[in-house]
Amino acid sequence: MIAALRSHAAAALRSHAVAALRSHAVLGLFIAFLIAAPFLLSEFYVTLMNYIGLATLVTLGLVLLTGVAGLMSFGQQAFVGVGAYATGVVTTLYSGSPWLGLLAGMAATAFVALGLGLITVRLSGHYLPLSTIAWGISVYFAFGNLEVLGRYNGLQGIPPLSILGRTVDTGRESYVLIWLAALAALLAARNLLDSRAGRAIRALRFRATMAESFGIDTARLKLIIFLYAALLASLSGWLYAHFLRFVSPGAFNVNMGIEYLFMAVVGGASQVWGAVIGASILTLLKEWLKDLLPKLFEQSGNYEVIVFGLLMLMLLHHARDGLMPVFARLFRSRQPAPPPPAAAALARRPRLAPGEALLEVDAVHKNFGGLAAVNALSFAMRSGEILGLIGPNGAGKSTLFNLVTGVLPADGGAIRFLGERIDALPSRRIAQRGLARSFQHVNLMGAMSVLENVAIGAHLRGTKGSVAAMLRLDRDEERSLRYEAAQQIARVGLGAHLSDAAGSLPLGQQRVVEIARALAADPLLLLLDEPAAGLRLQEKQALAALLRRLRDEGMSILLVEHDMDFVMGLVDRLVVMDFGEKIAEGLPREIQGNPAVIEAYLGGIE
């Protein structure tokens, strides 16, 4: 357990170092190489570079999909095929413009990707890879058997592209086009990850419940990523068709789909530049092995698959992050990022007057099988107070917490927030109404900085989406979000840790980061789930002081705890639960002397 935690923390620190990579210097070197390459390399290697560029586009989609969002697809080659065949049909059969072909390919891809995505994003993780394998096989056989697509011979005579009156028909000219597209896609992806939408996307893989509780529609976001990856693959197919001037089904068989995923893993699936590294290594390796291995086995055949398979096994066993961290280490920057500069303040919700009705729990039920975890529980909470919900272990506190935050649906009764029923709403809709929570088991993105973690809390206070982020049209809002996050971090007293990886902080401070994240949502009610669990005495005292200060600033807090000592000196009122029912309610002083409470906590007197 401890070893696991330690390795987790170490991984977090490592990834943080990767994130701190001086990307500008690397980017400059990379672009300089790209500009010089066509002048230095032979025709053969320029062609190889073109294949690398085409593969980079597809792999980049997979990096976002697999490494960042935790979805997996083995069917990207089919989207490449859709893009290639669409332009093939438009330009050869209908003599249309390649640009019309691009449009047709994108439209067809979007249609299929949205369909597949809508079906699978809500299902467990293994359905998407399985269904994309199936879809890849279906498409391959459809390409190979459709008369209109030339069956297994494919489509010949696809015209070259023509841009601004200039025909792109040599390898070197295609090189320019392919790498411009790849570079644009890489930069767009990098911009996307460094934004409001990007933070949300990075939370999809391990922190979906947390993301939902801060208003992020995880299913929709997964769909967007799947769509973007599919469109990149389709773009690659369009470029491929006009570069090679013919298409045939062989280029889109299942093995290509597997190899694209391998490229993402080799490069390191959590970094956009991993796409270039993975695509380069596997394309070059394949070319080299195709030369070498048949000589070794003295007959022809695609033996490189054995080497690819072994390479993948070794990587997955020993370096699951791929090769990107190795490259990143060379360019690591040790300086912490400066705090974000002051920016325009975000709009705040209208505050409530103290004493207004805030939360009302009315005869709520929740059963798990035959067990009534929460039974006919009612209480009300007013603005400006700290209400403690206490009870021994197993009393149903956490279940109630999950009912109020929308993580679990209630079986009966009503929950009202500001007079409006919220018991049928999913947690992201409850978050929109001004309710923010912390988690009993710290639910932070360990590898991301404290600032980025807290900025996730402010998600609903921004509006800019994925496309704006890719085009960097979101910078004003992004500055405001980051500034707001920094202010909330300062408010809870962690200003010195802005750029630390959240996973590197001690538990007590991580819990405080959770509170800062909830505060960044500008909530009317703060729900804290056992914030003192596992804290040392001093940490508990500091936490109590922080909560008291927040109350004095006008914040309403619902505190679920089982630690009596922590709660007694802090809260204004208490609700005591046992076996799913309310056994007492009142001022801390009254509760302390309540015989039912004493019995619940200490057991009956025999």
Partner: protein, 347 residues
């Protein structure tokens, strides 16, 4: 379509469906016990079928090299782990399982292959070469990653699939092979002519499914497997080692895959990579059954066989495309039923 063709297609579909049902059960077993989506299951089919075909022509199948070198690799990994923990007493067992057994099987096959023994002997030889590959593959590829996420294990499966198809091409070549039927007899069943081979397939599948059911219900190992698939952590806490259940489920998967291969070797021409598609059709069957229930998976697989058979009549070129599109309506249904936010995967 007249009744004759209908019945003939139905018969064909049931035969294939029986094979897919076997595979679906194995895939479901491996998935529920180890969380591995075992794509390389299909390679056992290829290995067993092609090994049998080669044995029949008196050649020594290259499968024994895969077995011996796989055994050496697994023994090396286990021995390294044992030496590091100074657990000397584990070494003889490791040597017996991963070195002595594979070498003995290899020697036996090398001696027996040119003798052209009776068919049942060759079937046993083929099984003896392929079945031990299950635990060996588990040891080499999956055991070091037992705690990894489903998605990582999925990529591992793809890597293993790559290695095994590559080896398959090296050892069996690109030519398609077919083995002799177990029996040439044909029966008249009403208007349809039924070959003895197809009765073999259906009967053997039924017996195998029954045996599996008995194993799960009656034996302590079966109960360990069931316990692990219901609650992995709980099973470990009561002392069921996950390494044991992993080995066991892969052993069963290899056995089922190899038997399937031997059953279909006489009715289909198999190439070095045919098993992949057959194995995936087992997945389609399992998904049609909701990826959770053994009887439904078997039923779904028979449906796959029937639909495949009938679409080969109406749209033969699109047979594969149709079969793999089948999962879409099922996924839609599963998706509409699920309303929860996907549980968080642990980093």
């Amino acid at each position: 379509m007249n009744t004759d063709i209908f019945l003939w297609l139905a018969q064909d579909g049931v035969i294939n469906g029986a094979i897919y049902a076997l595979l679906a059960l194995a895939l479901l077993l491996v998935f529920s016990v180890t969380r591995v989506i075992f794509v390389p299951q299909g390679e056992f089919i290829t290995f067993a079928a092609l090994s049998l075909a080669l044995l029949e022509s008196g050649q020594t199948p290259g499968t024994l090299y895969i077995l011996v070198f796989g055994g050496i690799a697994a023994a090396g990994l286990d021995a390294f782990a044992a030496l590091r923990e100074r657990a000397w007493r584990r070494l003889p067992r490791i040597a017996a399982l991963y070195l002595v057994l594979p070498f003995a099987v290899a020697a036996l096959v090398a001696w027996a292959a040119p003798q052209k023994f009776a068919q049942w002997v060759q079937v046993l030889l083929a099984l003896a070469m392929v079945v031990p590959l299950g635990p060996i593959i588990y040891r080499i590829a999956y055991q070091p990653l037992a705690g990894a996420s489903i998605l990582v294990l999925f990529i591992v499966s793809m890597a293993v699939h790559y290695i095994l198809t590559g080896l398959s091409l090296v050892f069996f070549g690109g030519e398609g092979l077919r083995s002799r039927p177990f029996s040439e007899a044909k029966f008249k069943l009403g208007v349809v002519e039924v070959s003895a081979q197809s009765i073999w397939v259906v009967a053997a599948s039924a017996v195998l499914i029954l045996l599996l059911w008995l194993l799960f219900e009656r034996s302590i190992y079966g109960k360990a497997l069931r316990a692990t698939s219901m609650n992995r952590v709980g099973a470990r806490l009561v002392g069921i080692p996950s390494v044991l259940t992993g080995h066991l489920s892969f052993l069963l998967a290899a056995f089922i895959g190899a038997v399937s291969g031997i059953l279909i070797a006489p009715i289909t021409t198999l190439y070095y990579d045919t098993g992949f598609l057959i194995g995936l059709k087992g997945f389609v069957g399992a998904i049609l059954g909701g990826m959770g229930s053994y009887p439904l998976a078997a039923l779904g697989s028979v449906a796959v066989g029937l639909i495949e058979s009938f679409s080969s009549f109406w749209a033969s070129a699109f047979k594969e495309a149709i079969v793999f599109t089948l999962i879409i309506p099922m996924l839609v249904w599963l998706s509409l039923r699920s309303h929860r936010v996907e549980e968080d995967e642990e980093p």
